[in-house]
Structure formats: C-alpha cells, structure tokens
C-alpha cells in the first residue's frame, strides 16, 4: 500500500521536464471543440522552433525546448499546465486562450515570467505602465473592432448613419472584449449595434441567425472561435446573408472555418495582422529542415494556412525577443527576466523580417516600456472559395487610436487600482 502510494506520488510529482537551455512551453489544445483552431496554431508554433533548432542550433547557440501541454481551452487544465511547466525554467507563455490569459496575468507577474498574447488576451495589457509582464503586440481585440469598422466606413462612403451592425460573439471574456469599443464607435459613427451572444461551444446558432434574418443588419461582425465559426458561416449561408458584409476577427478567419460551407462562403471577410500562404522564403527552410526531415508537428497538413502562420508569427516574435535579450545581455542562456526586457526593447523592422525569410509578413514593431500593444494594424482578407485561398482585400489599416487609447487607459487604471499597482515608466 505504502509502496503504491509512493509510486503514485512520484508519478504525480515528476511532471516537469529536465532543466534545459531555453524553455518555451506551448499550452496547446488539440482536443475538444476548439481543436480545429488549436491544432494548426500549435503546429506552426512548434515547427518554427524546430526549424531554428535544426538549422541554427537554436537561438544564439542555445537549443529551444517547446514542451507541449494540452489545455483543451480549459482554464483549470491551463493552471495545471502552467504550474507543471514553470519549474523547468519557462521563459514565455503563449496560452492562446483569453480565459487562461486572465488567470495567468497575476501569476506571471508574481513569478517574473513573460506572457505573450498576440491578438488575444486582455486588451488593456497594451498599457505597459500597468502590465509589466504582459505583451499583446502587434494588435488587440479593440484594434480589430476599430479596423473592421474603418473598412466598412470605406465601403459605405465614410458614413454609417442609420446603419445596423450586428456583433455575433462567443459569450465569454474573449467575445465580450470588443463590445465596449463598438459601443463607443457606434456613438461616434452613428450606427446601431446589435449584440448577439453565442454560448460555448456554439454548435447551435439557429436562434441567433433567426434574429439576424429578422433584424436585417447591414453588416455582421463575428468574434468566434472553434466550431462556432464554421457553424456561424454555414448559418449565414443558409439565410443567404451577403458574405461580403460578414466580417470575422482574426480568430474567425481560418480555412477550417470557411471550407465546411463550401461555395457559399465565397466572399467572407476576415482580418489578420500577418500574411498567410506558403509563398514566403522561410518555407524553403521549413521544408528542408522540418517537413522533409519528418520532424513536423501534427499530421503535416497545416503549413501555410492562416492559423499555422499565426502560430509561426508568435514563435517568430518570441524568438526575436529572446535574440534581443541575448544581444543586450551578451550571453546566450538568458533567464525569464532578461527575456521580459527583450520583449520590451524589441525592434522588429522590415529589414529584419526579410532576413528571417518573411518579407511583408507583418508590420514592424517597436516596443517601449509603456507600449506593449504595438502598431495596432491589420489587413482585410477575403475568402475565394473556388481557389480555396485568402486574398488580401485591403492594405494595412491602423486602428482608431483616439477611441481605443482612452479605453485602454481607463481599463488598465481600474486594474491598477484594484490590485494596487503603481505605474511604471515615469
């Protein structure tokens, strides 16, 4: 009995991998209702680091370990994953879940680890004065909402007076994030906002789309994730909603979301803060060192798609931040605090992107102590169902900082007051 108990205890305790050089845990989800979106992201994230390890021997000569931990998009499992990996010298977390992000913000701040949440998480973390350890550049949810409205304004000749815009959102912290911004924009631009929540996991949306059919909004914006996206696009097709008036945030615009609706999804629009497709020079190296070497993560069907590119984007930014930290400190085995400083002094230029084999893939970023939010720019992509590919439908559009900055200041001030955080960078 005692022996069994000891054995059990040992197994429970030895969850952490051996201490290694650079550890970037991947809190991924390859199971559950969010798996269709979680898998390509996790694959892109892992493949990029595999390429760095195989091609360059890691970053600055240090091998990067990417231990994966399955969260199933569940906050309790997320906590378990965080606790089981942080002891191994984890430098950065990228949980790809707004719920888990909210939980980890206080924890990483206490533990001095960086939380990097590109395009998700807590929007007001863009204010580095309050959120020292959280970075969400290049764009956040509020930027996304503002950019979509700007694009719509462009199509409507600059005025949205009397128009109706519906927001179909995942009824969670993630989906609710843009509401405040859209309400401000509704006041400013004079449109009417209809809020339509969809409960987790979103497989049943008949009533929501019935409401859309009845209210006839001029535009529909979707903040969805997982199976919810595909279902919503299918329902929109069913009620013959004009697809070019249907916009998805970057989390609602992957191949997996539009392909189930077939031809009907043609013309669906989505925004993205990075390019997509496998035409970038970096894919030659990925092919040589990762795919052809049989080291690809997952089943190898994802390279080049939107979420794979996004996983790769996150991996690229993290590796650049580590590189920045190495350059600043002069040694390769950087620790979590140095990597945090690396994130804060990251200067990603066009020239550097070209060097990395990703010319024009993303916008330059210049982070500062106060600015953890980046440029706040994104592009509109439109789905071509016949060619099965996303085509750029706009140039880079930047968010309306006049609306968003005060909101960020207000929300982060509330957080600072609640948690008695003194402002930094002054």
């Amino acid at each position: 009995m005692n022996k069994t108990l000891t054995a059990l205890a040992l197994v429970l305790a030895t969850a952490t991998p051996a201490l290694a050089d650079l550890v970037v845990p991947s809190l991924s989800y390859r199971t559950g209702p969010y798996a269709p979106n979680g898998i390509p992201y996790a694959d892109g994230f892992a493949d990029y680091f595999t390429m760095l390890n195989e091609r360059d021997g890691g970053i600055g000569g240090e091998i990067v370990q990417v231990p994966e931990c399955e969260t199933a998009y569940n906050t309790e499992k997320g906590v378990e994953c965080y606790e089981s990996t942080k002891g191994s010298g984890a430098l950065v977390y990228n949980p790809l879940s707004t719920g888990i992000t909210y939980q980890l913000i206080p924890k990483v701040t206490a533990d001095g680890i960086t939380l990097y949440t590109p395009g998700y998480g807590r929007t007001s973390a863009a204010n580095g004065k309050v959120f020292a350890n959280v970075f969400n550049y290049p764009a956040n949810y509020w930027d996304g909402a503002s950019i979509i409205i700007k694009d719509i304004l462009g199509h409507e000749g600059g005025s949205l007076e009397g128009k109706k815009i519906a927001l179909v959102y995942h009824n969670s912290a993630y989906g609710k994030e843009p509401i405040r911004t859209l309400q401000e924009l509704a006041k400013k631009d004079g449109f009417e906002l209809i809020e339509i929540p969809v409960d987790h996991p979103g497989q049943e949306q008949k009533s929501q789309w019935l409401q859309i059919r009845r209210d006839k909004p001029d535009y529909v914006i979707m903040y969805g994730w997982g199976v919810m996206n595909a279902v919503a696009i299918q329902e929109a097709v069913n009620i013959k909603y004009p697809m070019d008036h249907f916009y998805g945030i970057w989390w609602s615009g992957s191949e997996n979301d539009v392909t189930p609706a077939g031809e009907g999804a043609n013309g669906y629009k989505s925004i993205s803060f990075h390019g997509t497709g496998s035409d970038y020079p970096v894919y030659a190296d990925l092919k040589k060192y990762v795919y052809d070497a049989g080291k690809a993560a997952g089943d190898g069907t994802n390279p080049g798609n939107v979420l794979y590119s996004r996983g790769m984007y996150a991996a690229m930014i993290i590796s650049e931040a580590i590189r920045t930290a190495q350059a600043a400190t002069g040694h390769a085995a950087v620790n979590a605090a140095e990597v945090r400083d690396g994130f804060e002094s990251l200067d990603l230029t066009e020239a550097r992107l070209t060097e990395l084999g990703l010319p024009g893939f993303a916008q330059p970023i210049k982070a500062t102590c106060a600015d953890h939010g980046g440029p706040g720019t994104a592009m509109i992509f439109q789905w071509d169902a016949a060619a099965k590919k996303w085509n750029a439908a706009s140039d880079w559009i930047s968010a309306d900082a006049d609306v968003i900055d005060p909101l960020i200041a207000e929300d982060s001030a509330a957080f600072a007051a609640e948690n008695k955080i003194a402002e930094r960078c002054n």
């Binding site: 969850a15 390859r30 569940n74 606790e83 909210y102 206080p106 929300d411």
Partner: protein, 358 residues
C-alpha cells in the same frame, strides 16, 4: 488481527457513538490530520498546491454539499455549477465592496447567500420529485449562468465579464491573489474543509440528518412519523447550497483567481460533482472525499504517466485519458454500484475477520 473491536471497551454513551469506534481507525484519522496540517504545508510547492491539493479540497467541499442534498436527502440536483457560481460572484462582490473585512468572513457569507438562493430553487422540491426535480434544478443552472453573464453589476462592469480576485489575506498571509504562497492556499482550504466535513458528519448523524434520510427513504412514511417535509427539504437545500457556495467562492478566489461564469461553472461542473458523489458513494462523508480524489487526481495522474513518462503526444494522451476515466467509471459502477465508500466498508468488514474469515 490489528483491526478489531475486541478489547476496545466503551464506558460512556459518547464513546459508544463516536465516529470511529475502532481504535485503529481513530489512530489513522488522527495521523492523517497531523500529516495534513503539520507535514504537508512544509513540503508543498506551487505545482502540488495548484494542480493537486487545492482543487481536491475544494471539490471535496462541493461534493460534501451535493451529497447532503442528493445522498442524504434524496433530492437530485443538477444545479451545482450554478450554485457554485452564486458563491463565486457573491464572494467577488463582497471582496470588492468591503475590502477591509476578512476573506474568511466573505467566503462564509458567500455560502450564506448561496444558501438563500438554494432555498428559493429548492421550493419546487415540495411538489416535484426525481427526474422532474432534476430538470427544475437544471433550470437553476442555466438561469444562474445566464444571469451572471447578462447583468454587468455582478462583474463590476469589467470589459470582458471576467471576475478577478484581488489580494486578500488571513492573519497576515495572502490567501488570494498572485502573491499567495502554496502553504497558505492549502491551509486555508484545508481548514475550511475540515470544519465543514466535521459539521457535515455531525449533522448527518443527528436529528437533522435522520430527518433527511427519512425523507429520502420514503417521504410519505416520514411525514406520518412527524417529519415536516417543508423544513426538512428546505434545510437540506440550504445547507447543501451553503457548502457548494463556499466551494464556489474558494474555487474562484483561492484556486483560479479569475473566472468567467460559462466556462468555470457550466453544466459540466454540475455533472462532474454529481459523478464524484455517485462514484464516491451516495450518503457517505468518506464517499465525497473518495469521489473528489478520484475525479481530480486520476486525470492529472494519467496525464503525467502518458505524457511525462511514456512520452505520448499530448492529444493522443488527452483522448486516451478520457477513455480510461470513462471506462473506470463504468467498471466501478458495475463492480460496486454503491461507490467507493461501499468498497471501503466491505474492505473494513473483511479486515475485521482477517485472517480467519470463517
């Protein structure tokens, strides 16, 4: 040989009716308490606290609560997740409205608020029974989650609808917020669990518990012998909801620190806790602990074996883990429909006779 009544003489009524009539059991109980209170806090680290002990302790409180209602009083409830949400949101509102009051008082008050809500949703139990009552409590589950999503007052008008626990301390040690140390978290939950389990044990073997069991076994007969169904059923709902509310408050403030209602307190949570008491054993205090341990520890254990030791892919391990847990639940219930508590009881019977079973 060691495990026996012989020679353990009881000379008072109190000694005769004590919880652990066998000396060996008492010894085991006291040594468990000593280890839990005096040894574990010194060796516990963040991983053990956050991934293993704190969730186990909190789920044990919730399972105790549901066991009072379903196991002892026979009222099936699928509203556990909703009631936990009431506890969590009550705790959040109290914490932010009265920051100077101790968190311990807030947790208990959150339990009180949940008890009141539980009584309201328990009223239909006077008219409807069994599956119909289960459906009524299911309505409570969905209504409460919807309410906390819909009314911004409950989440202090935050942009995302998330509630986050600010830092609060007990006796100078933070128990909520990021600065909380593993032992503080653990001891806070353990102390509350110990007090509540002790209370539950004594309630269930006193007048109140006997009334509950009378109603559970046959309500008409119970009414004929003078048990008032109104007060009995409502007291079961109130006390059960108090426990579940305390569990919800701890779940939010100590364990997770930030929750969103649909994800943390959805219908899955109600089922999870119902599974705990069914697997652990209905109408048993030990069963609540065993069930909570089974449902909390087994997935973590399997994950560590499959991913950590065998090096399987995380998705494969996650799927296999679901299958193993599911299969074990079915096997357990076929082998012993009365749950782990019954297995434990049988084991003890056999131990008493050992090594001369005939």
């Amino acid at each position: 040989m060691l495990y026996r009544e012989a020679g353990d003489f009881k000379t008072t009524y109190a000694a005769d009716s004590q919880t652990f009539p066998i000396r060996f059991d008492r010894f085991a109980y006291w040594s468990l308490l000593v280890v839990a209170f005096l040894v574990v806090p010194f060796v516990i680290n963040d991983y053990w606290a956050n991934a293993v002990f704190v969730p186990f302790l909190i789920y044990a409180i919730a399972a105790l609560g549901l066991n009072i209602l379903t196991g002892y009083c026979g009222q099936v409830s699928l509203g556990t997740g909703g009631f936990m949400a009431v506890g969590a949101y009550a705790c959040y509102k109290l914490m932010t409205a009265f920051p100077e009051v101790s968190i311990l008082i807030h947790v208990l008050l959150a339990g009180g608020v949940t008890a009141a809500v539980g009584v309201v949703f328990g009223l239909p139990s006077l008219r409807i029974k069994g599956f119909y009552l289960a459906v009524a409590t299911l309505a409570a589950q969905f209504f409460l989650v919807w309410l906390f999503n819909k009314v911004p007052w409950f989440y202090n008008y935050s942009a995302s609808g998330q509630i986050s626990a600010p830092e609060r301390s007990v006796l100078g040690h933070a128990v909520t917020g990021a600065q909380t140390t593993a032992p503080a978290k653990y001891l806070f939950c353990l102390a509350i669990l110990f007090a509540l389990a002790w209370l539950a044990r004594n309630l269930t073997r006193g007048t109140v518990g006997r009334k509950w069991m009378a109603i559970r076994d046959m309500d008409i007969a119970a009414e004929i012998i003078g048990v008032n169904p109104l007060t009995t059923k409502l007291s079961a709902f109130a006390i059960s909801s108090f426990y579940i509310g305390v569990a919800g408050a701890l779940f939010f403030s100590v364990y997770l620190g930030a929750v969103e209602v649909g994800e943390a307190f959805g219908i899955q949570k109600s089922f999870l806790i119902l599974f705990m008491i069914i697997i652990g054993g209905l109408g048993s205090i030990f069963g609540s602990f065993a069930g909570a341990a089974f449902m909390v520890l087994l997935p973590v254990f399997l994950k560590n074996v499959l991913v950590g030791h065998l090096g399987w892919a995380t998705d494969l391990a996650a799927h296999v883990e679901l299958m193993i847990v599911g299969a074990l639940i079915v096997i357990f219930l076929i082998a012993e429909p009365h749950g782990m508590a019954q297995l434990w009881r049988l084991a003890k019977e056999k131990l008493r006779l050992w090594p001369f079973p005939h």
